[in-house]
Amino acid sequence: MTHPGEITRRELLRRIGLTAFVAGPGAGLLSACATSGAGDEPTSTPTGSIAVSADPKNPFGVDAKKPLEVTIFSGGYGDAYAKDLHEKMYEKRFPGATVKHNATQQIGTQLRPRFVSGDVPDVVNNSGPEALDLAAMAGEGQLADLTALFDAPSLDDPSKKVRDTVTPAVLDNAKIDGKDLVLNYTVSHRALWYNAKLFADKGWALPKTWAEFKALGDTAKKEGILLFAYPGQKGPYYQLWNALYTAAKIGGNQVLIDIDNLVDNAWNAEPVKQSVTAWVEIQTLYSDKAYFGLDHTQTQVKQLQNKLLFYPVGSWIENEMAKDKPKDFEYAIAPIPDVTAADKMPYGAIQVGVGENFFVSAKGKNPQGGLEYLRIMLSKEGAKGFTEKTLNLTVVNGAAEGLDLTPGLKSAAKAQDAAGQNIITDARFEGWYKELFDYGTQQINVVMAGRITPEKFCQNMQKKADAIKKDSSVVKQTRSN
């Protein structure tokens, strides 16, 4: 009954089956998209530096007629600060110039092909889960040198250089391969965050030592409150940070600097072990394993319901939870209690770090305009407006003066004053060696859940760090402070 031209239903299904495995799991295609330029040798080595003009009013020699393209990551900060503020300020400075605004949550997906093909935006706010790999970008000469920006006169006071108007961490964190290529724009305060109103109501004081910390844990337990919790889903890196900052508190910032520099046995150092051991104990005695399966938002909502006291996070938490925050909840920062009697940093040390990357494209159509745009962002007006719109502080010194700060930001500022010189540094391997950082966020869950010992955690991390060190395809970075 079959003749050659006829395709039976089953035959058809079978053919679909056959084609389906060719089209199969699309993953094979994922990586193959943009190699049109394959085989082309770059004609010249890009330098990335931009000529500086002599005019102090227009230090980069911006051509007022040239358009400027700005790409903003529209995440937690939104994009209104750029669209309604910084871009308007640019257009006001250069009447006739148009700013093309582009907001996305997929920075990498959207921009990677553009950087390969050469049609690039001038200013990029590189952030979010799909951010571009800046070390790789720097290797291709895609990032403009920001030295000219840092040496340019400040918009507010031409007698001052931009580099003298920002917090010094900006200059440390600008470096990739020894060059100033990245601008970090926001300042955040990381330690343990808690509800100050709850503590006032209960008459509880902040624990200063690990013994006091655990005593408070016992007290809270009687009221059905957990002393501490972190999200095991999506946000376990909060606890990785927390453990690393605690290690720095015990052993000094050198612990983190060694880890960042991939120094042999940096992860096996005693302070790292002590820190992880202390936190595992807290997790076991005063937390709940259900949190290993909750994400950051679910955990943060639980804190708003006063189901847990301390949450390891940064000062953005207040704005992040603003919509859900009940009236009787007041965010405040608590320093990490002393783990040992001989911690290198005294009680009160907190982490103050810079974040939110911006860069100017070296191969863009208007790199001068890009530098000028960053200079506008670093003016007091630009920075103050950012704080007003996002409730987050910027790296610009004194830019928040006169603003009515939220209780959380006030508490952070106070804690920073109290900490003085005892500021815990940031762990930069998060940006430098993402693979190591990802491995750490996975391993921290394993050790906190008690499935491996703190010693094993340190050994595993060391093994991964050694592998990264040996991997020639990973560009290495170093830091001295």
Partner: protein, 304 residues
């Protein structure tokens, strides 16, 4: 001439799909093979060939072997369980009611059930993921754990216990797949001539006998196709695992699968060459599986 006219007609219809398929499927595949021989990082404007280094490294990578182990479990369980459940339901829906008048009938309400079974197939995978995140939530707010807590039991960390996570995700994959195969097998059963069943029933065959001696052998080709589909699904699992477990094979590498590793290696770690090598290996795994399945289960066709 006759032949030319016939195939010319077919070719005219195929031109557009073949062109689209070549541009969007075949050419990226070829490119993936090319990139797998380089150390391209996704940013460089030229390719630097490094021979088979990526593959040598891949075979020494423990994450790769962990992913293979997980794919192995999925490959064994997913097709088997899904096909068995789908066959059972399809039989009940189409033939389970026994003979009634002319031919076989499904059990009472079978039309309604057919729609219900197909529901999960209508939902996007991401929606299914979010849905089951709520079902599996590890505290008393979870659907399953809420019930357990009410019964006085301790909540279970479905997605956070290394021994449970993959099975919990597997259950979701099966739940979502069954509906489609019920419909597929129902279509196959509808094509079996009714007189076969009538004759067998007259001879005194019960439902079980009807199923094993008539339905199953005559559905063989359809089941084979279903098996290949499900095997391919076992090499995927990307979206569901990403939503339910995360991109790091949490917990403890229990949910590490190649598609997620490829995605992460290429776009987070900027090792596009290495990721392409994984893609190439995945391609060969999938092809080998499909060819093996079709070869080993081949046999003479039964003409209906």
């Amino acid at each position: 001439m006759e032949r030319l006219r016939k195939y010319g007609f077919v070719a005219a219809f195929l031109a557009v799909p073949v062109a689209l398929y070549s541009v969007f499927v075949i050419s990226p595949y070829i490119q993936a093979f090319q990139i797998s021989l380089t150390d391209w990082n996704g940013y460089k404007s030229r390719l630097h060939y490094i021979g088979l280094d990526n593959f040598t490294r891949l075979f020494g990578d423990e994450v790769f072997w962990r992913a293979l182990r997980n794919h192995g479990i999925l490959l064994l369980v997913l097709p088997l369980v899904t096909v068995v459940i789908a066959l059972f339901f399809a039989f009940l829906l189409n033939l389970g009611g026994g003979t009634r008048g002319a031919g076989m009938k499904g059990i009472w309400g079978s039309r309604f059930y057919r729609v219900v079974f197909f529901f999960p197939q209508v939902l996007a995978v991401a929606v299914v993921g979010v849905l089951f995140k709520a079902v599996y939530r590890p505290d008393e707010s979870g659907v399953i754990n809420g019930a357990l807590v009410k019964l006085g039991l301790d909540p279970v960390g479905w997605l956070v216990e290394p021994n449970l996570a993959l099975w919990a995700i597997l259950a979701v994959m099966i739940w979502q797949a069954v509906g489609f195969y019920v419909v597929l097998f129902s279509a196959g059963m509808a094509a079996i001539p009714k007189d076969y069943f009538e004759a067998a029933a007259l001879d005194g065959a019960g439902r079980a006998r009807l199923f094993f001696s008539i339905t199953l052998p005559l559905l063989r080709d359809t089941i084979q196709v279903g098996w290949v589909y499900l095997g391919i699904a076992a090499f995927d699992g990307f979206a569901l695992i990403l939503v339910l477990a995360g991109d790091k094979g949490e917990p403890d590498g229990a949910t590490t699968v190649l598609p997620v590793e490829i995605w992460k290696t290429a776009f987070t770690y900027s090792k596009v060459g290495y990721a392409s090598a994984m893609g190439v290996v995945l391609f060969f795994l999938t092809v080998t599986f499909a060819v093996l399945t079709l070869r080993t289960t081949r046999r003479e066709r039964i003409e209906l």
